[in-house]
């Protein structure tokens, strides 16, 4: 019976939404598609505990928790079939184009312009996040900042941060700060083994490679004064075929070396051919590949995704990894992690520039959430109230305390923020460096083809140049067909 009642309620909301008939302000149900994990579970719990609708009515936030691995399929099927089930949706930033073009995600530019409170929120959100999570057609951070005002004229806004994510370095304090290991490393490479946060701020990829070489030990050898009962590895980062589990890291290498991916914000002039496979890009990709030899053997299979490196790290098989902040919480959990009391976090390494500074440009992760297009004005207004509630400093701070993250600069600047979670300092430092991969509807086709070519290079079937040539050729043709390149 429960389902019958639920179904009827859903149908009522839907019918009201479709016909545009007035909905009683008292009871609005907002159904939200959300991946099933702690940051969204928190949102639901905290909503139930604290949310009071400003219109005095009773608002229900119905969360449809969908398992992460199937989240995309479920959302895509719901949207493209016209089911119109959801009023709000948590989405990956890359999906924006496909679902905006499909007419499913609501353009919020006018709403933001009309609402001073929303405007204030948008101004306080980190511009890298606004660029990645909100704009379509995509506008880069530089383009937004050039406009000098928020919202920038002529830019369309869609999403708000639900969980902003960056990748940082997770490392084993017990071995990186071990006197004997530090002395040995210094003796071998003439530079220090990064132990403190400040040390990691000065760590570039070259040193990352040295760490990898240094800590690669066989079963039976010594590590930090103890005999190893299994092979040990110094470093790992993502190199998996699934979803975007190599692109996110490869892009960092390309950008940091001055190369580029196809830049959708400069369409239709921007090219793929000659850019994606430029000499700089090939060199950068080669550098990415060169460190794989120091990583655990799963790297040879092209299956070393963000979860595999997390597991290898948690089970004490690897000394340092580069992984998303969103996967940090289990590392501190004694029941899942052998290194829960030995871990520290620093910014991800980068490429040293001519002036000695380090470029850490990275590919942003995390998810925004959006509103859908088929709702009545009452539902939209109430949904925006929920947005304001979620992005209020109080809620955001509470989210961070409970393992979430905030996109608001004022919250990140709060003196208590850095101490709330051990990776927060690194996260704030990294967020300034973030750019994003493409947002156009064809992104998945580009991503899949690219992941496949990258995977061939990672597993040693082809060279970096062959891989990037194939990617560039494919993208050039696809984008010309789609009218993105003149």
């Amino acid at each position: 019976m429960r389902s019958l009642i639920g179904g009827l309620m859903g149908a009522t909301t839907l019918a009201a939404g479709l016909s545009g008939a007035p909905v009683a302000a008292q009871d609005i149900t907002i159904t939200m598609a959300a991946p099933d994990w702690p940051p969204t579970r928190f949102m639901k719990e905290y909503f139930d505990q604290t949310y009071k609708s400003p219109n005095g009515g009773n608002t229900v936030l119905e969360m449809d928790f969908i398992p992460w691995p199937s989240f995309y399929e479920r959302v895509a099927a719901s949207l493209t079939s016209g089911e119109q089930k959801y009023q709000m949706i948590v989405t990956d930033s890359q999906w924006l184009g496909a679902f905006v073009e499909g007419g499913y995600y609501m353009n919020l530019t006018d709403k933001i312009n009309a609402d001073p409170e929303l405007k204030t929120i948008m101004q306080d959100l980190h511009p890298a996040l606004v660029s990645a999570y909100s704009t379509y057609p995509h506008r880069t951070r530089a383009q937004l900042e050039e406009a000098g005002e928020v919202p920038a004229p002529g830019v369309n806004y869609y999403g708000f941060p639900q969980f902003p994510d960056t990748y940082v370095t997770y490392y084993r304090e017990d071995i990186f700060c071990h006197d004997g290991e530090m002395a040995d490393f210094e003796a071998k490479y003439g530079t220090n083994l990064p132990c403190t946060y400040e040390d990691w701020q000065d760590t570039d990829w070259a040193k990352w490679g040295q760490i990898g070489e240094f800590f690669q030990r066989k079963k039976g050898e010594m590590l930090a004064g103890e005999t190893l009962d299994d092979d040990f590895y110094g470093i790992a980062y993502q190199a998996g075929k699934g979803y975007d589990f190599s692109t996110m890291q490869v892009n960092a290498f390309v950008w940091q070396n001055g190369g580029d991916i196809w830049d959708e914000s400069k369409a239709p002039e921007a090219q793929a051919e000659g850019v994606v496979n430029s000499d700089v890009a090939v060199e950068a990709f080669d550098e990415y590949l060169s460190y794989l030899q120091y990583m655990p053997p799963v790297a040879q299979t092209g299956q070393m995704d963000i979860f595999v490196i997390q597991d290898l790290y948690m089970q004490g098989k690897v000394g340092a990894i580069i992984d998303w902040v969103g996967l940090g919480e289990p590392v501190l959990d004694p029941s899942a992690s052998k290194v829960h009391d030995k871990s520290a976090f620093g910014p991800a390494p980068g490429t040293r520039q001519a002036d000695g500074s380090i470029d850490r440009t990275g590919n942003i992760g995390g998810q925004p959430f959006v509103l859908t297009t088929w709702n009545s004005d009452e539902v939209v207004d109430e949904a925006l109230n929920v947005v304001k509630w979620w992005l209020s400093p109080e809620t955001q701070l509470e989210a961070v305390k409970n393992g979430g993250q905030s996109g608001r600069m004022s919250v990140m600047a709060d003196p208590v923020y850095n101490d709330l979670r051990p990776w927060n300092r690194a996260h704030v430092e990294m967020i300034d460096w973030q750019k994003d991969v493409w947002h156009i509807p064809e992104f998945f086709e580009m991503l899949t083809q690219q992941q496949e070519e990258f995977d061939k290079a990672i597993t040693g079937q082809i060279t970096a140049k062959e891989a990037l040539d194939a990617v560039a050729e494919f993208q050039q043709e696809l984008l010309e067909d789609g009218g993105y390149i003149d």
Partner: protein
Amino acid sequence: MARRYREIGKAGWGYTLITSIVGLIYFSPVLWIILTAFKTRTDALAVPPKLFFTPTLENFTSVFYRSSITTGTSQSTDMALYFFNSIFIAGTSVGLALIVGTLAAYAFSRYPLRGNDTYLFIILTTRMMPPIVVIIPIFLMFRLSGLAGSYWGIILLYTAFNIPFSVWLVKSFFDELNPEIEDAARMDGASESRVFFKFCIPQILAGLSATFVFGLILTWNEFLFALLLTGVETRTVPVAMARTLGGEVGVDYGLLAAIVTLFLLPIFFVTFLLQNQLLRGVTFGTVKK
């Protein structure tokens, strides 16, 4: 009319020992999964693999309860509901397919239509289509008819999936019956429904139960349509299981193993009870007496 199969020779306990060893080797991945259900994450990923460990029941608790993020109190995961859903949806749809399929099978066997074989073939073809193609139309249809998220929607869909198989299998059982007995009954003035219920059905009960078990095995673990067409309240175990495959950690091996183990129990016992009939079921009824 018990269809007990005949064995090629008989063997003693020594043979049992040998086959048990082979059987256990074959079973070992399943055993591994069952053992994992009692392990912590660290034990599950231990190198070398741990055969002896302190068992924990925590995974089984987590199947049904999770702790709240804000208050730490324990909340239901609704998994009990999903188990009910799976049993209810699979049981009803396989049963329904069996009833509808039996009627059709009887007709195909006793009252052949013009183009009988063509109909039968078309029915079978629907089972052969890669399911991904029909998703968008079915999704659209479910929305228009209001079936999305309801029990009836998914039950009818699974019924449709099971009909081809049921029709083919049950028809072969009817084909094997001796029509003379039925004719004799008709001569004695028995009505058609009496012939059907009193003479035909009792003779193929074993076959019907085999069909049921086989349909159950094919339906029990269905994932794709369950993912897309069930709602929060009608979700089945295979869909709920997917939450253990990634999120904040990769695969939660212990929890996944616990769900798999619990989910194996009902179908394991049904299969065990109807084991001899299953032997007949898989051959599409081609094995003669």
